[in-house]
Symmetry: C2
Subunit: 211 residues, 2 copies
DNA sequence: GTCTATACTTCGATAGAC
DNA sequence: GTCTATCGAAGTATAGAC
């Protein structure tokens, strides 16, 4: 998207090790802990190789981001195409590993313009796909979404796991179980198949339980 | 909470300027952009003064955090004691400035243990107060919270603004209006008084609108 | 592709004059 | 309280041998 393509094969073992090390560092100690020296050390490679495979730190972060983003979009696509799109969709956005990493990239975007524009572009794509999948899945099941459009549901659906991920990092889990149970109830009502349970025919009503 | 108290009066003009500069830097460019030199430059002070007023960078961040945290707790307290606690409470957690700064501190907590423990302690206090305020306000209004306890509501209430703040930073506002409208509807049902509108007597039912 | 060596910058922190 | 001067560590990035 910007500048010349760095050297090195896309499937190089060292390259992958550097990407993995970067992810690990970001999750363990935050994006600010990522430096060429530390990444190389964790990957068991020479620091200069970071510049061989990725021209700059920006490119390193972008490569990490793109790898995860593409994987996530494929996962979302797969979820939407399956038999239980709602449950699968929830599973995709709930991946705690991804939620935590996304949080880091959001913070990182705040002072790396290249990361920011990439994140914005990806977010739009992801939300659009999510909204389409939601719209189609709800229509197929004859669910009336009422006043809350799929766009609004997408905000909630994509946001709740991120909230709980933030809380979780701080060791705060008060009320999480109940929120998860509420989601599970919706999933069950619309798609049946509680994980490991019996199949209950999906209802046609979208009336939520009393708050 | 740790180590010796740094020098300098609590109400020193320079000290305040350094704190303000730190906040500004965090919001503009992220916590990683905060360095003694940049803080001093933005505050129009000498870099060495950072170490005079705050012994270390940890202390600087903690001082910034505590100042905001105390102010926020007071705001929450005030909201809970007023005539329209639900609306006031929502207003407190919706402060976009605070939401963005909180995000930075969460990211910062990931690699500064001192910040982390302070953030955890504050979060627990804030949530506890929020939960108590919510419980009391709903009971006073005769609202049955059903299966979703105040703890769960607190997760949603405190989380939604953070989600929308994150989105907002990326310029993504799809569906936000609808979520806000939903919140407004609840506030109106329980407390009436739409901002600038006529007073509608609060209902007794907590049945949410269809999703 | 991998390594050493190094240039240059910025960082946190301290000593000590004023 | 404020300043200059400076140390040592760590950062990004490049040149060039192997």
């Amino acid at each position: 998207m910007s500048g010349t393509r760095p050297a090195g094969a896309e499937d190089s073992k060292t390259r992958t090790a550097l990407l993995d090390a970067t992810v690990q560092l970001m999750l363990e100690s935050g994006y600010a802990a990522v430096s060429t020296r530390k990444v190389a050390a964790k990957a068991g490679a020479n620091p200069a190789l970071v510049y061989y495979y990725f021209r700059t730190m920006d490119e390193l972060f972008l490569a990490v981001f793109r790898r995860g983003a593409e994987a996530n979009l494929r996962r979302l696509e797969h979820a939407a195409a399956g038999d239980h799109p709602l449950r699968a969709l929830w599973k995709v956005v709930s991946e705690p590993h991804d939620a935590a990493l996304t949080m880091e990239f959001i913070a990182l975007a705040n002072h790396r313009e290249a990361v920011r524009s990439e994140l914005v572009a990806y977010s739009r794509r992801f939300r659009h796909m999510q909204k389409e999948a939601l719209t189609s899945a709800l229509r197929t099941r004859g669910v009336d979404t009422g006043r809350l459009s799929p766009a609004a549901l997408t905000v909630l659906l994509g946001g709740l796991p991120r909230i709980m991920a933030m809380d979780g990092v701080l060791g705060i889990t008060d009320g999480h179980d109940e929120v998860l149970a509420l989601i599970e109830e919706y999933l069950q009502r619309f798609e049946g198949f509680p994980p490991g349970g019996d199949h209950v025919p999906p209802g046609r009503s979208v009336e939520p339980p009393p708050v």
